[in-house]
Structures are given as structure tokens and as C-alpha cells.
Subunit: 337 residues, 2 copies
């Protein structure tokens, strides 16, 4: 009996090992457990992560005064309480304007693992990306001058910039965006999948392990791979006949390539696809298999993949609600029109 | 020499004591230091504060899905990162609608000390108040059914309600609002003024103590009193000729009475007055003295009162950014139109 149990354990262990290898061979990667290895993966060599910069970046991320109206912060559309996005089909911004291309806000969690930023990959990193929505008329609608004027009007912000970057720091729009981007780099959510890949055989349930196998066998990992389980540019068929009508005029980049979204925390980021037209995860799985892989999945396969995706629900960083410096007479007034 | 210092100390102490007494006689009250005394002051006897209820209330407070659009939470207009309000003249809500009466969102911090809620005092407490903005068309624009459907669609929320109120809890709109109101009761911010009143003679600076004297002498405390340093209904002259034009059609309650706003954290809650038309604190002090007290204050008096108001900047409760349950297929979809 003892021997049988021991054999069973060995077999389970071998199976798990081989599944880890299969996942590795399919290009799936774990978030490293070692803080040093993780830091190396997420850090910005040109502007290394420090506690002072990240704390400041967090405040800026939550500060609606960076927007023209004083009402919209980064956190409005990339809500850290809600899986890092807004749950909308198309983002809503300044003056209640929907995204003109009917694009859905992607999650900011683990966005550091994306090869490029924005759905069309036009931005190389989070620092560059952060400059976009702040200035976009249908989003935060601010000018660079507005942002600098808001931040420099408050002595507490100026002090924090000095603490983060030295006494002689020049507070520019780029510096603000760089600091927000740096904070965003820290928004990493290790999940049961990572623990499993890093050696804890019991971190995923039996169903989740089966789902991982299905995920690999069906071919999902051909696009959804890397540490982000997505994040590279891929040849998504944006003009294919979706179950839901093609909504919006988005056609990807000049080569028709579209950023493959991360699947981390995907159970929290409905509705799905670049235009947010798919409300349920099961249907999203089916549609992607049909359009991208030319495969009709069985209900069992769909549920199996869904089970695995649950193993990508990650632990969010512990974060205190930031207290922002007070507006004063020099702070530009909100303009809602 | 020793004797002289001792004498000086005694004199300072006597002066401080007499100032505390003057403040008490003027009706100013401190937030109690004793947790038991504080709890007694803020608790709801009909629905006593517990950790489970407050944690749940915090989530609901931060959850934009309670609104029709899925974009606006209590925290949008009563932003806990920004002194507990939105920094707008008139609140902006669903479909970017400005408050039709041009009313400015009051701070939620220390709102528990208000005798009544809303600018016209039409609501007896925070639990009742919380029902208003959720349903108001220009604010969160939700129906009671929407709110209940959202909350009950998510098993994690249902579990938290059961944990807070027992297994057989009935999740009604009133229960949701009651829980939000209960969370809001805990948003109390003890300040140097309170420490001073509670016996720490050095908690306020010399300028702040002078300011407190001026505040009392000039008559500010005739309306701004109690623990909230405001919060009762008062006979504000809403039709008086303000330095800034009378904006909006607000005339107070049926007796022309208006809620006196708390002065706690007032340095963080510009712009001022019920219609948000006064951008600076110094001008707000001058205008109130002119209109309410018939007094023209000297620059010195204005600055002195302003210094005292700084002693009402309180310590905000330590709060973790809440992580909300994930939307699922049963959760009502956002409607932005």
C-alpha cells in the first residue's frame, strides 16, 4: 500500500513536471518568485524603480486633477479595484465621450509584460503609453502645460519629485508620465499558475492542470504566451465575422497586427476583445478558437480552458489609498466643457 | 531663572486652559481621543458598527457598478484621496451632467458629525443620504433594482453581506445604502485642534491658537461649532449679494436654512460655498464675515483665522485600496446613455 501511494505520488509528480515542461515549451512563463529576478524583469534601466518614485507615481495615477476636467484619473479607466480596467465596452472619457474607435480599456495589471503598449502597439513602454490618454481629447483631454501647472502648483508634489529625483529635478510632462509608468511597472499579480510553474505542484487544481493541457493542445499558447500570457503583437483577424458584429473601425497596426491581450486576471476584465463586444469568457474562448485557430471547441474543452484561466487570477499588490496634496490658489481650475 | 521659566510655563498653561474653555464656551468640541467615546459618538444604534460591515461598506463605496453607467462610484464625487470631495464647483454625474442646482459636493470626511445631511438638510443621517445620489438622474442614475441586481449577481458580495448581517440577510437597496452609510460614519479625521482641546497644549502653533481666539471673537463659532465645527442647519443668507454672482437656484430648506459645512479639512476642499463659487479660503473667510456676521475683517484677522483652520486638517483613516468582486454573466451591463 505504502509503495502504491509512493508510486502514485511519483507518477503525479512526473506528470506535473512534464506539464511544466510542456508549458515552458509552449512559451508560457511564470512571474519569478525571486524579488531580484522580478525586479530585473520589470525595472526601467533608464529610470530605476525606487520606493519614492513608485509612491509618487501612485499618487499621480490616482489624481484626477491631471485631467482637464479634474474628474478623470488613470484609475478611472484602469481601475485597480476592478481588475485594472473599467468593465466598459468602449472607454468613456472627457465630456462622456466614448472611445472613437470603440476600443476597450485594457488592464494595467501586468501590462509591464506587454512587448508594446496600446491595442495597435504604437507605444514601446508604459512610460510612453502614459503620455497618451492624459492628452487624448476623448480621455483626460489635458495639455502638457496643464499637467505641469497642476503638479508644480502644489509644494507637496514638488517635494516628492525632489525626493524621488533629486533637488534639481525639472518637473516636465515627460517626468510625470515616466513616474506614472514606473508605478505601473510594479502592478504585477502572481497567480497559482506561477506558483505551479515555479515548482509548487499543488498550486493548481486538477481541473486547472487539465485546462492548461487543453490550452496548450488547442493552440491558445501560440499567441497567449510569455510572462504576460499575451502581450506580443499578433495577427488577429480583426475583420473576421465575429459572432457579435464588428464594432468600431479598429484595424490594428499598419501590418494588421493587434496586441494579444494578457490573460492574467481575465476573469475580472469582461467584456472581452479590443471592442469589448464579447460579454462572457466562455464565448470569448469559443470565438478566439473559431476565428484565430479555425477550431470548434467542445463544451468540455471550453470549460477546461476556462478553469485554467482561473489559475491566472493573481494577488494584487497591497496598496494604501493615496492621500493627494491639496489644491491651492495656483492650481489650474477644472474645465468640464 | 528656574522660577521665571516655571512662571512662564504656568502662564502659558493658564492661557491655553482659558483658550480651551473659551472654545468650549463657544460650542466648539473635540473629536474624543477615547475609542469608546468616539464609537459612541459615531455609531448607529440601529445598525452597530462592525469590521465586516465597514469593510463591505468600503467596497460598495468604491464600486462604480452601483451606478447606471458602471463608471461613477460614491468615491467619484466624495473622493477619499482628495479631502473627501471632488474639487468641482458643481458636481458632475451621469452623462457628464452638472448638478442642476449648481450645488458643490460636500466632503464625506466627518459628515457623521452633521446634524442632518445634504445642503438643505433633507436627510436625517448618512444611511438615508446614501440612497440619494445613487438614484439621482444627474448623479449615479441607478434604480434600486439595478443596485440590488448588481450586488446579488456576485457571490463574493452575497457572502460578505452574510458575514456582516447573518446567513439569512436580505440584500435590499436600503441594506446597501445602510452599509455604505455605516462605512462613512468611520471617516473621522482627528486634527491638531482636537489634540489641543483634549489637553495637549502644544498641539497647535502660536498662530493657530491666536487664530482660534479670532475665530471665536469674530463670531465664526456661532455657526461653525460642535464636533463637526459646522454641521447644523443655519440661517445662511443665500440670496445676499456675494462677491461672486449667485449661481444656481438653491434657496435652502423651506425655512431658508442651509447646512453649515464642516470646517474640518477645509484647506483641502476648495472651491467653497454651496455653489462652489469661491476659489480661495481667505476670500471665503472674508465673504462669510461680511455676509453672515456683517463684519469687515482686517487682513490680519483673515490670516489668523486661516491659520486656525489649518489646525483642523485631520489625519485620514488608514485604508487599503479595496479589491472588488469580479463582474460575471449575471451582473447587469453598464448603460452609458
Amino acid at each position: 500500500m505504502k509503495k502504491m501511494i509512493a508510486l502514485a505520488f511519483t507518477a503525479a509528480s512526473l506528470m506535473a513536471n512534464s506539464l511544466v515542461e510542456d508549458a515552458q515549451n509552449a512559451g508560457l512563463k511564470a512571474i519569478p518568485e525571486s524579488p531580484t529576478a522580478l525586479l530585473k524583469l520589470i525595472d526601467n534601466p533608464k529610470n530605476p524603480i525606487t520606493k519614492a518614485k513608485v509612491e509618487l507615481g501612485k499618487k499621480l495615477y490616482f489624481d484626477p486633477r491631471l485631467s482637464k476636467s479634474g474628474l478623470i484619473s488613470c484609475n478611472t479607466c484602469h481601475n485597480l479595484s476592478k481588475g485594472g480596467d473599467d468593465g466598459m465596452q468602449a472607454a468613456i472619457g472627457h465630456k462622456w465621450t466614448a472611445n472613437p474607435h470603440h476600443l476597450s480599456s485594457p488592464t494595467v495589471y501586468n501590462a509591464v509584460f506587454n512587448d508594446k503598449q496600446f491595442w495597435d502597439g504604437r507605444s514601446p513602454d508604459l512610460e510612453d503609453q502614459a503620455q497618451g490618454p492624459i492628452q487624448a481629447a476623448p480621455e483626460m483631454a489635458a495639455t502638457q502645460e496643464h499637467v505641469v501647472a497642476v503638479v508644480t502648483s502644489m509644494p507637496a508634489y514638488v517635494k516628492e519629485f525632489q525626493k524621488a529625483y533629486g533637488e534639481d529635478v525639472k518637473i516636465t510632462f515627460k517626468k510625470v508620465a515616466d513616474t506614472i509608468g514606473l508605478f505601473e511597472r510594479t502592478l504585477v499579480t502572481p497567480a497559482p499558475f506561477d506558483a505551479f510553474m515555479n515548482g509548487d505542484k499543488n498550486a493548481m487544481t486538477k481541473e486547472q492542470k487539465e485546462g492548461l493541457k487543453t490550452f496548450i493542445q488547442v493552440g491558445c499558447a501560440s499567441c497567449h504566451n510569455g510572462v504576460g500570457i499575451g502581450g506580443a503583437m499578433g495577427a488577429m483577424n480583426v475583420t473576421a465575422k465575429y459572432k457579435y458584429m464588428n464594432v468600431g473601425d479598429f484595424k490594428g497596426d499598419k501590418n494588421g497586427m493587434v496586441k494579444v491581450p494578457t490573460l492574467r486576471n481575465v476573469t475580472e476584465t469582461a467584456p472581452y476583445f479590443h471592442n469589448g463586444m464579447e460579454p462572457t469568457l466562455q464565448d470569448a474562448i469559443k470565438e478566439m478558437a473559431r476565428i484565430q485557430l479555425g477550431t470548434k471547441l467542445s463544451e468540455k474543452q471550453v470549460k477546461s480552458i476556462e478553469a485554467f484561466l482561473g489559475a491566472l487570477d493573481g494577488k494584487k499588490p497591497y496598496m494604501k489609498v493615496p492621500m493627494l496634496p491639496a489644491t491651492n490658489d495656483k492650481t489650474p481650475k477644472p474645465v468640464v466643457k
